[in-house]
């Protein structure tokens, strides 16, 4: 859970930073999208690095879901009879929504790939035009896309808030002295990642990015 999660978090941070390229103009963003396909050239073929990354992410995601499923099944078996009266004592909202939050984020990722990678659901079919796909994809008339995006990103923020700290605890990095610092770091990373991802549709809606 912690190791596969680490890989996914690192990807998310790079993905978020890459997205912010859109604020440098359409040309810079399209150039960045093109550059992603040329990483490692001529050693790697066109899009070669992206495919290596996709396979890596798919393995990490698979392991993450598998670990989550194992933990969920164990939890169900460990408490066959439910409490009649049960209230969460301390558990943060983030900790309590890890499982369903993860499911929401998973469905979003599937949609997100069909939207902006394969362009199945996107009005711009030409994959060379990254900027146009984002601008038209988040156009005001496609408000439901933006709404789903915001929901998924906020859910992801909660997922990261508990996940990053929990991962550090699982890997044995945390201790009494570091606990507050690590929890603060988890919150900061979750917040910045969330804000970075939300900045793009917000900029499109306000006309900051055209």
């Amino acid at each position: 859970m912690a190791i596969s999660g680490t890989a996914l978090v690192l990807f998310l941070i790079l993905h978020m930073i890459g997205n912010l390229k859109i604020f440098f103009g359409a040309e810079a963003f399209d150039h960045y999208a093109h550059w992603l396909r040329e990483i490692g050239a001529p050693l790697l073929p066109y899009s070669g690095f992206l495919w290596i990354q996709r396979v890596g992410l798919l393995i990490a995601l698979g392991l993450h879901i598998w670990s989550a499923a194992v933990l969920t099944i164990r939890a169900r078996k460990a408490r066959p009879v439910k409490y009649a009266h049960r209230k969460p004592v301390q558990g943060s909202y983030a900790a309590r929504t890890m499982r369903w939050g993860g499911v929401i984020v998973f469905f979003f990722v599937v949609y997100h790939i069909l939207d902006l990678t394969t362009r199945t659901f996107n009005p711009v079919a030409d994959t060379a035009q990254a900027n146009a796909a984002v601008v038209q994809g988040f156009a005001p008339e496609r408000w439901y896309v933006t709404a789903f995006y915001v929901l998924a990103v906020v859910t992801l923020g909660f997922h990261l808030r508990h996940g990053i700290w929990s991962g550090l605890q699982t890997l044995g990095v945390s201790n009494a002295r570091r606990e507050r610092v690590l929890k603060g770091t988890a919150f900061a990373v979750a917040f910045v990642t969330c804000a970075g991802f939300l900045a793009v549709p917000f900029a499109v809606l306000t006309g900051l990015v055209k």
């Binding site: 194992v70 933990l71 164990r74 939890a75 078996k77 460990a78 408490r79 066959p80 009879v81 439910k82 409490y83 009649a84 009266h85 049960r86 209230k87 969460p88 004592v89 301390q90 558990g91 943060s92 900790a95 309590r96 890890m98 508990h162 700290w165 929990s166 605890q169 699982t170 890997l171 044995g172 990095v173 945390s174 201790n175 009494a176 606990e179």
Partner: protein, 248 residues
């Protein structure tokens, strides 16, 4: 005080069980929670009914026998307090109180509110010990222990093994209990010879007993009557990682 109690009644391990409602009058606010149940049981006995079975022993908050999930919280609403040390003054007149046993596959209900906690004994048997020569006691300062380590080890050693951590955990995990023992013994020089085998054996015993996995929600530490901190679980994880590396 007058109270409406909704108590889990279950005749034996095979019985399905259900919540049964009792009205109780003239409860003194100075009574402990268990004394309140004693009053109920005296009345049930006089009425020819089966009294409610619940675990208790020292009633001083140190034996770890009392349990009870009170209004959804193991050991009730007071922080760092066992059920036996909880007093009725923390409840209001006319209140409805739900009383349930620990709920975990590893802690099967024996009767009513009594659960079988031998799964914890299995975890201890797997590694919660040190190898020491018996006979005459060693000199008091033959083995120096740094003060900071002694304090942390003592903090972890205050675990009374009541099982509230398991009862509170949404995953039904016994990780806080296991981690308290790992921390307690792992910080002391006497615990070093078995340090690596201990953590692996105790985790295996924990998993075999049917406890769930830890997802760091922190419910355990918030209900722990001894306030065992969540950092003990990080120590357990670190020991586990180092033990795996050492054994490979």
């Amino acid at each position: 005080m007058s109270l409406k109690l909704r108590i889990w009644r279950q005749a034996d391990a095979r019985d399905k069980g259900s919540m049964v409602t009792y009205q109780l009058q003239n409860v003194s606010p100075d009574m402990s929670f268990l004394e309140m149940l004693d009053v109920l049981n005296e009345r049930l006995t006089l009425d020819g009914e089966d009294p409610v079975a619940f675990d208790h022993d020292c009633r001083e908050g140190i034996c770890g026998m009392c349990s009870l999930v009170i209004n959804g919280v193991p050991h009730g609403p007071e922080k760092a307090t066992t059920t036996c040390q909880l007093h009725m003054r923390h409840f209001t007149d006319g209140e409805t109180i739900d009383i349930e046993p620990w709920r975990a596959a590893a802690f099967p209900v024996v009767k009513d509110l009594v659960v079988d906690r031998r799964a914890f004994d299995k975890i201890i048997q797997a590694g919660g010990y040190i190898s020491a020569p018996t006979g005459s006691a060693p000199d008091a300062h033959a083995t120096p222990v740094p003060k900071a380590d002694a304090d942390l080890a003592f903090e972890a050693a205050t675990c009374i093994g009541c099982g509230a951590c398991v009862a509170a955990c949404p995953n039904g995990s016994g990780m806080l209990f296991t981690a308290a023992k790992i921390t307690h013994l792992g910080l002391l020089p006497q615990g070093q010879p078995e340090r690596d085998t201990r953590v692996i054996d105790m985790i295996n015993a924990h998993d075999e007993a049917g406890f769930g996995g830890c997802t760091n929600t922190g419910e355990c530490t918030s209900v722990c009557p001894k306030g065992i901190p969540l950092e003990t679980i990080a120590r357990l994880n670190k020991d586990y990682r180092q033990a795996l590396r050492a054994s490979s």
